[in-house]
């Protein structure tokens, strides 16, 4: 019983840490341009597929696979921003326009993968040793999150990211080019999503072109749970979501897995709309 509980716990943290990685991308982008980037889940999926292709073509060296995957996903993330979001920002469009554009990107990416690779599930190679798989996934996630934390807090561009998310115009007065910082944010967020994609593939050993949808939505819930815009919030939110889901499935019922996630979301929004770590902003009258 106890070992089973421990196992459930480990399961929860493994899934949770991957949620966190994806949630970070949502939260960073939201923090900086106030956009719910619906295409983020698809970037995650693309990351998984790139990992798959690399490991088929170039061998199952995990480091190489994840490296190429994150480089390419961060590139794709920036590209998406430049094509689908930046033109809207420049036109000072309503937020819903950017949201719809993001949905368009999401539909485009997932169907492009279907077109290229077919709609079927693809098996994923074993990239990490099975016996310590979960521990490795958790460690890699923590490592990536620490890397992010370091960048955001100890590098100039990281500080600039936080500055832009507070006030774009003031940041410009520092000589910061907001477009550059936004691109950087997309690059980092997509990088984490790409890594998460490879990890999910490695963990579940299968990927499909529509996996980004639900996983993305839930990671987004995790971001909201932690307080959207807050980086530690996304990390904690992911873990909480992963744990509640797995424990909920284990001790209550699996059928309500998605309901658990969204139920938490609604409770949080009603009780404390800004999430666990979020800050309140008030409209000026």
């Amino acid at each position: 019983m106890l070992s089973s509980l421990f196992q459930q716990f480990l399961n929860g943290i493994t899934v949770g840490s991957i949620y966190s990685l994806v949630a970070l991308g949502y939260t960073m982008v939201y923090g900086i341009i106030k956009l719910i980037n619906f295409a983020h889940g698809d970037i995650f999926m693309v990351g998984a597929f790139i990992g798959l292709i690399i490991s088929i073509k170039m061998g199952t060296n995990f480091t190489l696979v994840i490296f190429i995957a994150i480089v390419l996903t961060s590139f794709i993330g920036v590209l998406v921003e430049k094509i689908a979001y930046k033109p809207l920002r420049n036109r000072n469009s309503a937020r819903i326009s950017a949201l719809i554009s993001a949905i368009g990107v999401s539909i485009f990416i997932s169907n492009l993968v279907v077109l290229i690779n077919g709609p079927q599930n693809e098996s994923y190679p074993q990239l990490l040793p099975n016996n310590i798989l979960q521990i490795l996934i958790i460690l890699i996630s923590i490592g990536l999150m620490y890397g992010l934390y370091y960048i955001v807090h100890n590098t100039k561009v990281g500080i600039a990211m936080r500055a832009v998310s507070f006030n774009v115009n003031t940041a410009r007065l520092m000589g910061i080019n907001p477009d550059m910082v936004i691109s950087f944010t997309f690059a980092i967020g997509s990088l984490l999503a790409g890594a998460a994609g490879v990890l999910v593939g490695t963990y579940y050993r299968a990927v499909d072109p529509f996996m980004g949808m639900m996983f993305g939505l839930k990671a987004f819930v995790a971001a909201v749970l932690g307080g959207i815009g807050s980086i530690p919030g996304a990390m904690v939110g992911g873990l909480i979501l992963g744990l509640t889901e797995v424990l909920g499935v284990a001790f209550v019922s699996s059928s309500f897995r998605d309901a658990i996630a969204f139920g938490i979301l609604i409770i949080i929004l009603i009780v404390k709309p800004t999430g666990l770590f979020g800050k309140k902003t008030k409209e000026k009258v």
């Binding site: 939201y30 106030k34 719910i36 094509i83 689908a84 033109p87 809207l88 036109r91 469009s93 309503a94 937020r95 819903i96 326009s97 950017a98 949201l99 719809i100 554009s101 949905i103 368009g104 990107v105 999401s106 539909i107 485009f108 990416i109 169907n111 492009l112 279907v114 077109l115 949808m213 939505l217 987004f220 819930v221 909201v224 959207i228 019922s253 059928s255 309500f256 998605d258 309901a259 969204f262 139920g263 979301l265 609604i266 929004l269 009603i270 709309p273 409209e283 009258v285």
Partner: protein
Amino acid sequence: MDLSFLFNDYVMQVTTNTGINIIMVLGLNLITGVTGQLSLGHAAFMSIGAYSSAILSTSLGAPFIVSLVTGTLTGAIFGAILGIPILRLRGDYLAISTLGFGEIIRVILLNTDLVGGALGIYNIPDSTNIYIVFIAVAFAIFFMYRLEKSRHGMAIKSIREDEIASEMMGINIARYKIISFTIGSGFAALGGTLYAHFMTYINPVDFGFMKSIEQLCMLVLGGMGSIFGAVAGTIVLSTIPEFLRFASEYRMLTYGIVLILMMIFRPQGLFGKIKVNV
């Protein structure tokens, strides 16, 4: 020239489906386009209408008109009940919670044996026909048009334009948001009842997140805040797949690109004049 092809069952089928969509999108337009409250869970209210009417028709053998009215009212009541807690939220938070509610309702339907769980409900009488849908669409357009022109509609519009100013002009914004959400959900449910009695079979898969998004896209494409836009956008997106039948592989891809290009070059939609800041 032989025009009979315009009146065959195929055209009727597509037209009826389009009509049902129009009713639901008009409901969404009231919530999102007119009131300015972004909803990402409209399909949930469609499902409530569909399910409640389907149960009435199949289990209790109620006449269609009873199912239709009850289904619509049930959807509206759910709209009001869910609206009360979540409409205090604003902007993205509201959008996310509607999304959450939509998913929760779907999961509940999926896990309730009483409504067939994943199997859903079949053998629903096929009571919906093009004439009923035509009347319902006409009613929806008439209702929305009159509502928008009335003092209540004006109050609702003013919330979209400026919540604070609206309240300062003596408008009970909480109440009107709920009214709008209730009516909008009612129309979604009306569409749902018609859908259920047209398809004769429903299950929770029909009412997922993507359905809500599809409805939102119809609205945004046509133009938020415009009845004509909502109708036109729905017609375009409901019928275009039929014209693109040949290119099935590229259909969804094109759909994605069209959405992006639309937002870049014509964010107010094909026929919209209004910028809704949500």
